[in-house]
C-alpha cells in the first residue's frame, strides 16, 4: 500500500518529532492554525495531545463555511424556494442553520438543490435545464475562488443566460492583519495554510511578519508536515525573529500561482465582507465585477443583504479568533452538536467545534 504521502505519516519519525517537541522549554506560545483543513488534520491525527503544555494551538477563521454569515444562507434558502430555480452547492453549506432553516430543510420541502463536487458541474446543469435558473453558491478562500471565476468566465464565453453565482468569497490577508493587530487575541505565530499559499504565494506573510511582528510557517497537511512546522515556528518565536519559513515547498512557491490569481482577479474585485462571528472587515471579501454583473445572483435577483446576528449564547466569534476554546462555550456539546448545530463552527466538518466534538479531547 505505497502512497506518495506515506513518508509524511511515518510512525518512527513522528515519534521522534513528538519527543523533541515534548522537551520544549521556551516561553509559552499561542500559535494559530489559520486553515480549516489544518484544524481537521490536527484533530484527526490527535496532534494536540503530542504537544507540550507550553505550546497551545488555537484554530483560526479559515473554514469558509463557518465564517459565512446567516444572511447569506437566508438568501440561498429564499432562492431555493423559488420554483424556477435550481440551487447548486458544495455539501458543507447544506446544514448551516439560517433564520428560516437550512438548505437541507428547504430540500426536504421540495426545493431543487443539487450537491456538487465541482463548480463546473453547475454549468452542465444550466445547459441541461434551459427553462430553469441555476444559482451556484460560491464561498471559499483563494484556494477555491479561481474555480468559481473559471465557471463564470466559461458561462460568459458560452453565453449562458440561466446561470448565476451567489458569491460570498473571502480572502485571507485582511483578516490575518486584523487578528495579528488585536492584542486580545495575542498570537505569537501563524501556521499558514498550504492550499491558500499555493495560490497567493508567501510574500504577504513577510509583510505580516515585518509590520505586525507575527512570524509564520507555511505547512502541509500531513501529520509530519504539521509537527515539523510547529517545531520550526516555536523555534522562530523563541528567538524573537520576525520571519517566515516555507516548509511546504513541494507545493508552495514564493510567487504562488499567478495564473489562478489572474483568473480570480478577472472576474472578482475586492469588497468588504462580513465574517460570521467576527464582523465586517473592509477589503476582506470578493464581489463579482460589473462586467460580469449578469452572472451575479445578488444583482440579478435583487437580493438585499439583511441584518446579521449571532445565536444567543454562541461563542463562535471568539472561537474563530482563538480567544476561546469550544469547551468554553455553554452550548458546545449540549444544545450545539453536529447533528443539530447552533453556531457556524459546528456545521462544517472543518469547523473548530465540529473537529473538537468529532475527534474529542482525550489527553
Amino acid at each position: 500500500m505505497n502512497n506518495y504521502l506515506d513518508p509524511y505519516r511515518d510512525t518512527g519519525l513522528l515519534h521522534l518529532w513528538a519527543e523533541r517537541l515534548q522537551k520544549y522549554q521556551g516561553k509559552p506560545l499561542k500559535l494559530m492554525e489559520v486553515c480549516g483543513t489544518h484544524t481537521m488534520a490536527i484533530a484527526r491525527y490527535g496532534i494536540r495531545t503530542l504537544l507540550p503544555e507550553r505550546i497551545r494551538l488555537v484554530s483560526g477563521p479559515g473554514c469558509p463555511v463557518c465564517v459565512t454569515p446567516s444572511y447569506y444562507i437566508n438568501s440561498a434558502v429564499a432562492l431555493a424556494r423559488r420554483p424556477e430555480t435550481i440551487v447548486a452547492t458544495f455539501g458543507d453549506l447544506m446544514r448551516i442553520p439560517g433564520d428560516e432553516g437550512s438548505l437541507l430543510e428547504a430540500k426536504s420541502l421540495g426545493a431543487d438543490i443539487r450537491v456538487l463536487y465541482s463548480p463546473l458541474d453547475a454549468l452542465k446543469i444550466a445547459r441541461d435545464n434551459p427553462e430553469r435558473q441555476v444559482v451556484l453558491l460560491s464561498v471559499g478562500f483563494e484556494t477555491t475562488t479561481p474555480i468559481f471565476a473559471l465557471a463564470i468566465d466559461k458561462a460568459s464565453q458560452e453565453g449562458l443566460n440561466n446561470f448565476t453565482v451567489l458569491s460570498a468569497n473571502k480572502t485571507m490577508p485582511e483578516v490575518l492583519k486584523v487578528l495579528a493587530g488585536d492584542p486580545t487575541v495575542g498570537i505569537d505565530g501563524y501556521l499558514y495554510p498550504g492550499h491558500v499559499s499555493a495560490i497567493i504565494g508567501t510574500r504577504f506573510y513577510e509583510e505580516l511578519a515585518e509590520k505586525y511582528g507575527v512570524p509564520g510557517v507555511v505547512a502541509g497537511f500531513e501529520p509530519l508536515d504539521i509537527l515539523t512546522a510547529v517545531a520550526a515556528l516555536s523555534e522562530i518565536c523563541n528567538e524573537g525573529r520576525h520571519t517566515v519559513r516555507n516548509l511546504y515547498t513541494r507545493v508552495v512557491k514564493p510567487e504562488g500561482n499567478p495564473r489562478a490569481v489572474q483568473a480570480m482577479e478577472r472576474v472578482f474585485e475586492p469588497a468588504d465582507a462580513v465574517w460570521r462571528g467576527i464582523g465586517r472587515i473592509s477589503g476582506s471579501g470578493l464581489a463579482i465585477r460589473e462586467e460580469y454583473a449578469r452572472y451575479d445572483a445578488w444583482k440579478v435577483f435583487d437580493l438585499q443583504i439583511g441584518e446579521y446576528s449571532e445565536p444567543e449564547g454562541c461563542r463562535c466569534g471568539e472561537i474563530l479568533k482563538g480567544t476561546k476554546s469550544p469547551g468554553d462555550c455553554p452550548l458546545f456539546g449540549t444544545r450545539c452538536v453536529p447533528e443539530n448545530p447552533v453556531g457556524a463552527c459546528m456545521v462544517s466538518s472543518e469547523g473548530t467545534c465540529a473537529a473538537h466534538y468529532k475527534y474529542g479531547g482525550i489527553r
Binding site: 510512525t11 513522528l14 515519534h15 456538487l116 466534538y357 482525550i362
Partner: protein
C-alpha cells in the same frame, strides 16, 4: 418498443399474474413459491430461528461489483450470518415506479435469483407494487430472511469482553467508494468495485472450528466506525483500534482525501467485524485468511474496559482520539 411497467402491473389483475409468471417464477423457480399460495409453507429444522428484514433503495441500481438485486440478497443473508445463522428462506417485496423498463426488472430479478442460488437459499414468497411516476425513484426492494442458529451458538453485539480481539475481514470502504464513483457528478477515474458478497459460508467455516465467537456484525451504512460504536454501546465496553492496521485500498484512501471523507465511515457490503476471545484469534485469522472472502483480514484492535461505550483510535502519530458515530449522511442512498 421498450416494454415498461404500468400501474396495471401492480393492480393484482391479469397483468400482475403475467408479470409474476413471466419474470419472477422462472427465475426464482422453487416448489414452495410456485404453489402460488399467499403464505409460503416450509418445514423448519429444530433449533433457534433467526429472522431479519432490510430494504434497499440504492442509487444507481447497477454498479461495479453488483446491483440492487444482488445487494438485496447479500444484505439479508449477511444480517442472518451475524447471528451465526444458516439462511433458510427469503421473502422479497418490490416497489416499482410506473414506467420502469421490464428488461431492467428482469436483469435485477435474475441477479437476485443467481445470488440466492449461490447462497443456497430460496426466495419463497414475494409481493409487487407499482406506484405512480414520481412516487418512488425507479425501484425499491425489501427482503426478509429466516435462518437456523446452530445449538450452542450465542453471538451478540452485547458480548464483547475486555481483552477480546477485534478483526475486520478485509479492505474497508469499497462499497461506499464504488457507489460514490458511480454517481454521475463525479469524474474520478479509479478502479473500485463494490465488495457486495454473501458471508454466511465464511462465518460457518469459522464457527465450525471456533464456536466461541463473541460478536459478529456487518459494517454496512455508517461504516466500521458506527459498527464498532454499536458494539461498544451494547457491550458497555470500550474499543481501541490502531489506524496503521486498518486495511484500506490506496484508491479508496485517495478518494476520501480528495473529497474530505473518512474510510471509517464508508459503507461495506461484504465485510464482517468479529470480536473473538484472544486465545481464539490466531485460529480465526488462519481460517479467514485462507478464504477468498477473508484473505485481507486483519486484527485491528482490542476491547478495553475504559472508557466504556467509546471507540478510540490510536493514530499513526501514536496519539489517541475518539471516533464518533457518523452524524448525517456522508452519501445518501448507499444501500
Amino acid at each position: 418498443m421498450t416494454e415498461r411497467i404500468t400501474l396495471a402491473h401492480g393492480s393484482g389483475g391479469k397483468l400482475t399474474h403475467q408479470l409474476i409468471g413471466r419474470i419472477f417464477y422462472p427465475h426464482f423457480a422453487n416448489d414452495i413459491l410456485q404453489t402460488g399460495d399467499d403464505a409460503a409453507k416450509l418445514p423448519v429444522p429444530a433449533g433457534t430461528l433467526a429472522y431479519t428484514t432490510d430494504s434497499f433503495v440504492i442509487t444507481p441500481l447497477f454498479f461495479k461489483g453488483g446491483d440492487i438485486g444482488k445487494l438485496s440478497v447479500c444484505g439479508t443473508v449477511n444480517d442472518l450470518a451475524t447471528s451465526g445463522a444458516r439462511p433458510l428462506a427469503l421473502s422479497c417485496g418490490f416497489i416499482i415506479e410506473e414506467g420502469f423498463e421490464i428488461s431492467r426488472l428482469e436483469r435485477i430479478v435474475s441477479s437476485m435469483a443467481e445470488t440466492a442460488r449461490s447462497c443456497g437459499v430460496r426466495i419463497v414468497t414475494g409481493d409487487t407494487k407499482v406506484v405512480p411516476k414520481g412516487a418512488a425513484d425507479q425501484l425499491f426492494i425489501n427482503t426478509s430472511g429466516i435462518g437456523i442458529i446452530p445449538d450452542g451458538c450465542h453471538i451478540s453485539a452485547s458480548r464483547a469482553k475486555p481483552g477480546d480481539v477485534v478483526i475486520v475481514t478485509g479492505m474497508i470502504g469499497d462499497h461506499g467508494a464504488a457507489i460514490l464513483l458511480e454517481r454521475e457528478e463525479l469524474h474520478i477515474a479509479a478502479d473500485i468495485a463494490s465488495d457486495c458478497a454473501p458471508l454466511h459460508y465464511l462465518v460457518a467455516r469459522v464457527l465450525a472450528d471456533v464456536p466461541d465467537i463473541h460478536v459478529l456484525r456487518d459494517p454496512t451504512r455508517g461504516g466500521l466506525a458506527s459498527t464498532l460504536h454499536e458494539i461498544a454501546l451494547q457491550s458497555d465496553t470500550g474499543i481501541l483500534i490502531w489506524e496503521k492496521d486498518i486495511p484500506v485500498r490506496p484508491e479508496v484512501q485517495g478518494i476520501c482525501e480528495l473529497l474530505g471523507m473518512d474510510p471509517l465511515y464508508l459503507a461495506n457490503e461484504g465485510k464482517m467485524v468479529m470480536v473473538v476471545p484472544q486465545e481464539n484469534a490466531g485460529k480465526v485469522m488462519e481460517i479467514l485468511q485462507s478464504d477468498p472472502l477473508g484473505k485481507d483480514s486483519r486484527i485491528i484492535g482490542q476491547v478495553i474496559r475504559e472508557p466504556a461505550k467509546r471507540v478510540l483510535l490510536e493514530t499513526v502519530t501514536g496519539a489517541k482520539r475518539i471516533v464518533e458515530m457518523m452524524t448525517g449522511d456522508q452519501l445518501p442512498r448507499i444501500c
